[in-house]
């Protein structure tokens, strides 16, 4: 009986989006890893065959999650979190190194990536902490603890090194904002990024001039009605200009050349064609090749299994982080727009689901899920199409990788399970 009622109550729209993304993702993995010699779909020694196995495993996980009590996840959230942290710590001793990063446990048939598990664990733990009756997000102490929950796994992941995954955890701060952290924190962070980027592009002088002009305009426009907060405004300007100066210092002295190259490629800072060519061949090779592959797809694409750059393996890591370039080359704008729309609709649907939760744990966990999915989607596609600098994180449900697919599925379906319970336990 439980199974049947679950099937009635689960949000089928989200499930549909999920299935479509997984299906499209697998087709593209098949295309980017397939060879004429091994065309069989069920070939478990080929990567697309392995991915098919992981998809099956994920479906098993879905059944298990839906069968469990909804309250299980809330009750055991701190256990999940603790296990995640322990596993991350364990990597320093037992970790397996692949491509320079010690991020995996070798389980023989499968490499487990605990940072993926930690995303689920942290989302659960953060929701649990914030929904606790004793937590008041307006208090500095509680703000600090919430941030610590996010920071601990992030700090453990950075030295693997996997700064991309560590970045994902900061996306969880959305949850804290949603629950009442003042928005000006976000505003300041946004301004800092803005000053950073504009300084690199136009230099400190121009940024200072614009800041001063803005303040002067503010004075002129608001003179009559408001009392001017002179001191804070001036402080703000001075801090901004000092920050702008420090950007230059950090960029030139703290960053390594490869970081500088990534930024100069992203912000189109390099004008010298010879140097640009050099960057394209080295640090910017991936981005350049993936942009070219996407561009060559045109409106309708070259057709399934017809992508010449995909077949020629011109885009490195194409089946993992750069899977979206396969979509671009073989399915054209039609394909890429479809994928972007699917992600957008799915995320909007999840926002709607989260907002309708009466249980604050479910809602906050929902926000956690959205934040994690959104940041992956944003950074990954942004990187592949060249609007963001290179940060290696996978595209959810899409990229090749067992841990990734499995834990994104678990992450999503725990929320869908919680959603099925919203009326039953709406305390």
């Amino acid at each position: 009986m439980l199974g049947k009622s679950i099937l009635k109550r689960i949000d089928w729209l989200t499930v549909l989006f999920y299935l479509m993304l997984v299906a499209i993702g697998w087709l593209n993995i098949y295309s980017s890893t397939f060879t004429d010699a091994e065309p069989s779909v069920f070939n478990f020694s080929a990567l697309h065959g392995k991915q098919l196995f992981f998809i099956g495993t994920s479906f098993v996980a879905i059944v298990v999650i839906l069968a469990l009590e909804a309250s299980f996840f809330e009750r055991f959230s701190s256990v999940f979190y603790t296990i995640s942290i322990l596993l991350l710590l364990g990597l320093f001793i037992f970790g397996k190194t692949i491509a320079g990063a010690t991020s995996w446990y070798d389980l023989g048939f499968f490499n487990l990536q605990p940072s993926e598990l930690a995303k689920v664990g942290t989302a659960l733990a953060l929701a649990k902490y914030l929904s606790d009756i004793q937590t008041d997000i307006k208090r500095r102490k509680d703000q600090l603890y919430s941030f610590l929950i996010i920071l601990i796994p992030a700090i453990l992941i950075v030295p693997q090194p996997d700064p991309g995954s560590a970045l994902v955890f900061f996306a969880l701060s959305f949850v804290i904002f949603r629950e009442g952290l003042p928005l000006y924190y976000l505003g300041i962070a946004f301004l800092a990024v803005l000053v950073f980027v504009t300084t690199l592009m136009f230099g400190t002088t121009w940024v200072s001039i614009v800041i001063i002009l803005l303040i002067v305009m503010f004075f002129i426009l608001k003179k009559k009605r408001f009392k001017i907060p002179v001191l804070p405004l001036i402080t703000f300007a001075v801090v901004a200009i000092l920050f702008s100066l420090s950007v230059n210092f950090v960029f030139n002295n703290v960053f390594e050349q490869r970081h500088r190259d990534r930024f100069s490629l992203w912000l189109r800072l390099e004008k010298d064609p010879a140097k640009l060519e050099q960057i394209r061949k080295t640090i910017g090779y991936n981005t350049y090749q993936s942009e070219k592959a996407i561009e060559s797809g045109g409106f309708f694409g070259k057709g399934f299994l017809e992508g010449t750059r995909t077949k020629g393996d011109f885009v490195p890591e194409q089946h993992t982080d750069y899977i979206f370039s396969t979509v671009g080359e073989e399915w054209g704008f039609v394909g890429t727009a479809t994928v972007v729309l699917l992600f957008t609709l799915m995320l909007l649907r999840l926002v709607y689901l989260a907002e309708r939760q009466k249980n604050s744990f479910s809602r906050m966990y929902g926000y956690g899920v959205i934040s994690i999915l959104l940041i992956h989607y944003f950074i990954n596609i942004g990187m592949v199409i060249g609007v963001l600098p290179t940060i290696g994180i996978p595209l959810p449900f899409f990229s090749y990788g067992g841990s990734g697919l499995l834990f994104f599925t678990i992450l999503l379906f725990i929320f869908l399970k919680l959603d099925t319970n919203r009326l039953k336990e709406g305390i």
Partner: protein, 622 residues
Amino acid sequence: MKKILLSSIIVIIGITFLGRLSYLQIFSFSPDQVMEDPAIKAIYDYPERGYIYDRNGKLLVGNDPAYDVMVIPREVRALDTLEFCTLLGVPKEKFIKELKKARIYSPRLPSVLVPQLSKQDYARLQEKMRHYKGFYIQKRSLRYYDTNSAANVLGYISEVNERDLARNPYFKQGELTGRIGIEKVYEEILRGRKGVQYIQKDRFNRDIGPYKDGQLDTLPEQGKEIHITIDKVLQEYGERLMHGKHGGIVAIEPATGEILSMISGPTYDPSLLVGRERSHNYSKLHYDSISKPLFDRSISFEKAPGSPFKTLNALVALQEGAITPSTSIGCSGGFYIGRSKKGCHCGGGTRNLNSGIYNSCNAYFVGVYRKIFDVFPSMGEGMDAWEKHMESFGLGGYLGSDLHTGRRGRIPNRAMYDKWYGAKRWSASTTYSNAIGQGEVAVTPLQLANMTAAIANRGHFYTPHILKKVEGKDIDNPQFTEARHTTIDKKHFEPVVQGMADVYNHGTARWVQVPDIAIAGKTGTVENFMKIDGVKTQLTDNSVFVAFAPVDNPKIAIAVYIENGYYGSRYAGHIASLMIEKYIKGKITRTDLEQRMLEKTLEHEYAKPYSGEEFKINVRAW
């Protein structure tokens, strides 16, 4: 606010992505990227270039296999360099240098190490080749010449340059194209069409199979064989006669306009421009600035025609009714222009059309020329009519032949004289040199031969051309198969032809008669000048001769132009008569004359202007 924040961010990100994607995939996209795609490599299959035969089916140009030694530097293993170099026939230093160059170009891709081995070298190398890892032999096809003449007609092929690449997208770097001559004009027929095979590559440039299963691949289309109008025997013979002489010979079959031979002297062996020594030989030919062997004197050489031009003036005068064949003009061993007396070699006496032609009387033709203009109310109108008649013989403009190059020549006209002297400030006396083919008139040997063919046909000619058959099928291009009529009525030709026949019977060429062949001809002795250290100096006269034979049923019309050959029958007349005899009889009866023409050279004449010393011209002694 907080509720819609996240939704707004999601939507903004979506819009940003769609914007960027439409920029990349819709606005930056260009459909012809396939050729620039690094993942697709085109491999070409070159068809064999078409063979070239002469009018009688004798082979002129074929193909010969050549063997390039290729190297893939990455695969080269330690080897006995000295032994290998001996096998290849290259010095060790050169071998090491070339190998280094190949490695710099690409360690993975094949480069040519030693180009164009001969068959002999290849045979020696073939068996040992497998001992040398990373080297292999690639077969190519090179032009092979079954004659050492006709270089100016056949032309040569060479690698395409930047201009060819820009002009014709068919070409790819390193391919060959006809550069001059037949090879250039009939490039597309001879070349055929290369086949292409698209190969899918990976990022290490390794082949991973055919692109789109070979749907876009094409098979090569063989080059077509052609027959040209040249008579190989006559061409070779003419070049032997031309030995040591500068000038041009063009022979045309009047009934068709087919060019029987087209000789430029000095010339070169076409085989020089093939193979390993090609560029070395080319520079040698190119920098020979005195004899200019690459300059085709048969079609690109514009000079005053001299006396053969008189026949045209006679025809114009007859057509305009200025004279009749019996109109007589006295010659006092010269004629007067204003108060100054100009000389004439004819011996003096009363001349009519017939004797005017066979004695080549200057006084007679200056008189005829004046009479032409007397018919017209003004000099200008007379000049317009005269120009029109001359141009109808294919002079003063491109003939429209299928040769790769050519010159217009020059027929002076009213506008030109108006500019030189001012309107109405010139007259027949000012321009009298037109009467005798000196001065402003300029023609190429090809035009001269064509003009002779028009006289031989009594009033029409076919545009001279060089292509006879493609794949055994006669050409049907109306440009070459339809007659072009001159503005002179047929009836006026007979007296002029009779005059030309009498040139042989008892005129200026009576010493060069050919037994059993009735020839009509006209000698020409053209004064010529050159600036030496800024001083205009007269050189030995150019020897000119035009002829056609037999008179009643012309098989050949020929023009011979020998620089500094002195009077018309001295070199040009003899050579023309030998050519006619060779063509019509197939053998030469006057062997001592032949011997003399083959052996005598004019190198001493050509050396004179560069000797820096005083010299005599028009020396009668052989």
